[in-house]
């Protein structure tokens, strides 16, 4: 029995077709993954189902009956619930208040909080979603906030839950807990649609999977009858090498040395404490950690965007702690920033201008402060070709490129400067599988060419497959460090959550 059926759904934004005649059938009581790269049309399709967008053509059937869903309110009445990527919660209100908001149990004209609390407790007990109904939302963890979102949907009697990339913000442990919750929900008869671009999760959680590519449906298959390799191929449209092969490290001299690096932030007092590590030529040092444990601060300290309060940073033997950003760049530190659009690019500038960002005073692009557009254009042509950037040309605005291509612009620009050290922060975030594969290759190539790489990433797979050595950050401290081969994924997850045994794991970092 199909509980949701989408027939021939199309939706265009301007002249780009986000959904192209998509059919989708979801059975009652299954976990159905919607798999696709960024921009494949997954979220658009689900927003149509949830009444946030209206389709240009096609029909929606819920429990076999054709319906027209014009608003989320209507969708909720039909038994749908959507958990968005970005939570829609009020931080200063309690869990219960957030859940009952808009549908409060009443006594007279007053809200009956006691009754609300009772109902929420009942829900948490039924579905084993552990969360304290009286706690303020701003005080609970991201994983718990997500559970509140799920509870909100359940409170509104949702039978069909749509989760949009729910694991993007979670630690591995929290992901495990979420999957347990989802299985529990499935047992109690709920239907779950799970949007993701991660192959591993699809394999782990789903009963069936529908793959979208470029707004079109590629296939719907039973998960038990497929493999990650096949899914990747269907998703990208060509063979993808999922495991990177890398040669043994040929380690050279020390490129970067952090010596008891400490950073206090005035505003939110987040800090880095006593970080010491080295990066040698020809190796990749990975930084693991749940976001917000000091990775961004580390990225900014090394590149000069902020200054360390104590300690020293040595680059090729020189203390660069007091150097400006420009001095560090000129000296040979490249930077792939974690926030691509905010830091790394000027979306309003065209490609060729973005490709000289940071080099605009340097030869050969400029002579005595006068830009040489002939050289700049030539440079842009070379980078577009070498890094296979998909664009209409040097004059295209960077904001019109896809996420993956924007990232290639940054990487192309930074590598073109031939840095000795590259600080790569979340280099594959929001980038599709094909581009991830390519970016990984580039980072490994840098390593082979004898450069140092500081890889800060929230993706454990990426860290484990690329890094030679790892440090784990938790609340601004290094809680573990060692050779990558000595860590298992489970161990790393625990360490990132602050539950590890700590200490140095086999082998020195200094």
């Amino acid at each position: 029995m199909n509980v949701v059926e989408l027939k021939n759904i199309s939706k265009s934004f301007g002249n780009s077709l986000a959904n192209d005649s998509i059919d989708l059938a979801v059975k009652r009581g299954e976990i159905h993954c919607l798999l696709g790269e960024n921009g494949a049309g997954k979220t658009t399709l689900m927003k149509i189902l949830f009444g946030l967008y209206s389709q240009d053509q096609g029909s929606i059937l819920i429990n076999g009956a054709e319906v027209e869903i014009k608003s989320p309110r209507q969708a909720i009445e039909l038994g749908l619930g959507m958990i968005h990527q970005h939570f829609m919660l009020v931080g200063r209100l309690t869990v219960t208040e957030n859940i009952i908001a808009g549908r409060e149990p009443r006594r007279g004209i007053l809200i009956d909080y006691a009754e609300g609390m009772r109902q929420v407790k009942e829900l948490t007990a039924t579905y084993q979603l552990s969360v304290n109904p009286g706690a303020r939302v701003e005080d609970i963890s991201i994983g718990e906030q997500q559970r509140v979102e799920i509870l909100k949907a359940l409170y509104r009697q949702a039978e069909i839950l749509i989760l949009d990339e729910p694991t993007a913000v979670l630690t591995p442990q929290e992901t495990g807990e979420l999957f347990a919750v989802l299985k529990k929900l499935k047992e109690s008869g709920k239907t779950i649609i799970f949007i993701t671009h991660k192959l591993k999760e699809t394999m782990a959680i789903s009963d069936r999977v529908t793959i979208l590519r470029d707004g079109k449906k590629v296939a719907t298959i039973a998960t038990s009858a497929t493999s990650p390799t096949e899914l990747a191929r269907l998703m990208v449209g060509r063979e993808v090498i999922l495991r990177v092969k890398k040669a043994a490290a040929m380690v050279g001299k020390t490129v970067l040395q952090a010596d008891h690096l400490t950073y206090y932030h005035k505003k939110n007092n987040r800090q880095l404490e006593q970080l010491s590590f080295v990066i040698k030529a020809g190796e990749i040092l990975g930084v693991a950690g749940v976001e917000g444990n000091g990775q961004q601060e580390l990225e900014e300290l090394i590149t000069g965007l902020s200054r360390n309060s104590q300690g020293k940073i040595f680059f090729k033997g020189k203390d660069i702690s007091s150097w400006s950003i420009r001095e560090r760049r000129y000296a040979g530190i490249g930077h792939i920033p974690s926030d691509r659009l905010k830091r790394g690019l000027i979306p309003d500038f065209n490609l060729e201008k973005n490709l000289i960002l940071g080099s605009e005073w340097q030869q050969p692009y400029a002579r005595k402060g006068f830009l040489d557009y002939k050289v700049i254009r030539e440079n842009s042509k070379v980078i577009i070709e070498r890094f296979r950037i998909k664009t209409s040309g040097s004059q295209a605005l960077v904001q019109d490129l896809s996420g993956g291509n924007q990232q290639k612009v940054i990487i192309g620009r930074e590598l073109r400067r031939e840095p000795e050290l590259i600080v790569a922060a979340q280099p594959t975030r929001g980038v599709d599988v094909g581009a991830i594969e390519y970016i990984h290759k580039l980072l490994l190539k840098m390593r082979e060419e004898g450069k140092g790489v500081l890889l800060i990433s929230a993706e454990l797979d990426e860290l484990l497959s690329l890094s030679d050595r790892l440090i784990v950050l938790y609340e601004g401290r290094i809680v573990a460090s060692g050779n990558t081969v000595d860590f298992t994924e489970a161990e790393l997850g625990l360490l990132m959550a602050g539950q590890g045994r700590g200490g140095v794991k086999n082998g020195p970092t200094e």
Binding site: G14, N15, L305, R326, L345, P347, L371
Partner: protein
């Protein structure tokens, strides 16, 4: 809409120009209706508008004369805007420029014009520039918003120059003004009896220079990078506070030249409260010119033409001054509201069915 946007990307300048012409035509049509409704003859009114602005060499000179200060003040705002700063302080900066120029010219009356003129201009630019650097510095160091600080500095500038004039430089007599500057320091008239001086060429030169600076130099690149994404500029090693200070200095200097050229080319002295708000009109000129140097030039010419033509419309077609202001306002409103015209033109171009949803 989509097709239109594409067109805009491909031929930005031509499109903007075409679009502005359409906007002006629509504004004049609307204005015509208003003139008709108020019991005047639109045909006659517009004849005098056009004739008064371009009809003969004298009228054309009046258009250019009215445009000149607006080229400078418009450019000043546009330059600030390139680094994301909204310089509302043009008015104050031009007063300092005017006073500095007048005082320089009065202090060295015996210098030959060839030296005195550039010196007086330089003094004006420097004074305006320094006045611009203050809000730039405050923004860079303390984050004080430049809109607030420049507005406040306007009051200080206008009153301070008045104070200085009355106490130190005032010519004897009832009017608050300096004595006339030496003949050698005056900018020559281009066409006799029109009061149009070659200050307009100086304006043109500043347009060309700013355009070149922004497009072809590293510092121009840095200014625009800061304006379009200051976080990315910082990432690239550009000193964002430094650029703020520099841009405001540059912007203030150009605004200061407004005062200088008015003193050297028109009044030949400094008079209190001489500006009818050139600094503020410059904001509208910059918006109209899309914050690009050449756009500012065209916008300033349009303003000058409306001013000169409006005057003759008022004189010969007996159109009340208020109505004339309304028409000027309509032109600015429509040219400055691209989305509105785009909608209008878009629905005409795409016809039902072909449009974007």
């Amino acid at each position: 809409m989509v097709r239109l946007n594409k067109l805009k990307d491909q031929q930005g300048i031509i499109f903007n120009l075409l679009y502005s012409v359409v906007a002006i035509v629509i504004a004049l049509l609307l204005g015509g209706i208003l003139i008709y409704l108020s019991g005047h003859d639109p045909g006659k009114a517009y004849y005098h508008l056009v004739y008064g602005a371009f009809g003969n060499s004298y009228n054309l000179a009046q258009t250019l004369l009215n445009s000149t200060p607006l080229i400078f003040t418009g450019l000043a705002v546009a330059i600030g805007f390139q680094s994301g700063l909204f310089n509302i302080g043009g008015e104050g900066q031009l007063y300092w420029g005017a006073l500095a120029t007048a005082v320089t010219a009065l202090t060295f009356p015996h210098l030959p014009g060839l030296i005195l003129l550039p010196l007086a201009l330089l003094a004006g630019a420097l004074a305006g520039g320094c006045w611009g650097v203050i809000p730039g510095y405050l923004k860079a160091r303390t984050g004080a918003h430049e809109v607030i600080t420049t507005i406040m500095l306007n009051y200080i500038a206008i009153l301070a120059t008045t104070f200085l004039l009355r106490n130190y430089y005032k010519e004897a007599g009832p009017v608050d003004q300096t004595p006339l500057i030496a003949e050698s320091a005056r900018m020559a008239e281009l066409i006799p009896f029109t009061r149009l001086s070659w200050a307009i060429f100086l304006g043109l030169a500043v347009v060309v220079l700013s355009d070149y600076l922004l497009k072809k130099t590293s510092i121009g690149y840095d200014i625009q990078a800061v304006g379009k994404n200051s976080a990315a500029a910082e990432y690239a090693g550009i000193s964002v506070p430094g650029i703020y200070i520099l841009t405001m200095g540059f912007s203030g200097a150009v605004a200061g030249l407004t005062g200088s050229t008015l003193v050297l080319g028109l009044f030949n002295r400094f008079i209190t409260n001489f500006s009818p708000g050139y600094g503020f009109t410059g904001i509208a000129v910059a918006v109209l010119g899309r914050n690009r140097p050449w756009g500012v030039l065209l916008a300033a010419l349009l303003f000058g033409a409306l001013e000169a033509g409006g005057m003759s419309m008022q004189l010969y077609a007996r159109i009340p001054a208020d109505l004339m202001r309304i028409i000027q306002g309509l032109v600015i409103l429509l040219v400055a509201a691209p989305a509105f015209i785009q909608l209008l033109v878009g629905s005409l171009l795409n016809r039902p069915g072909g449009g974007a949803k």
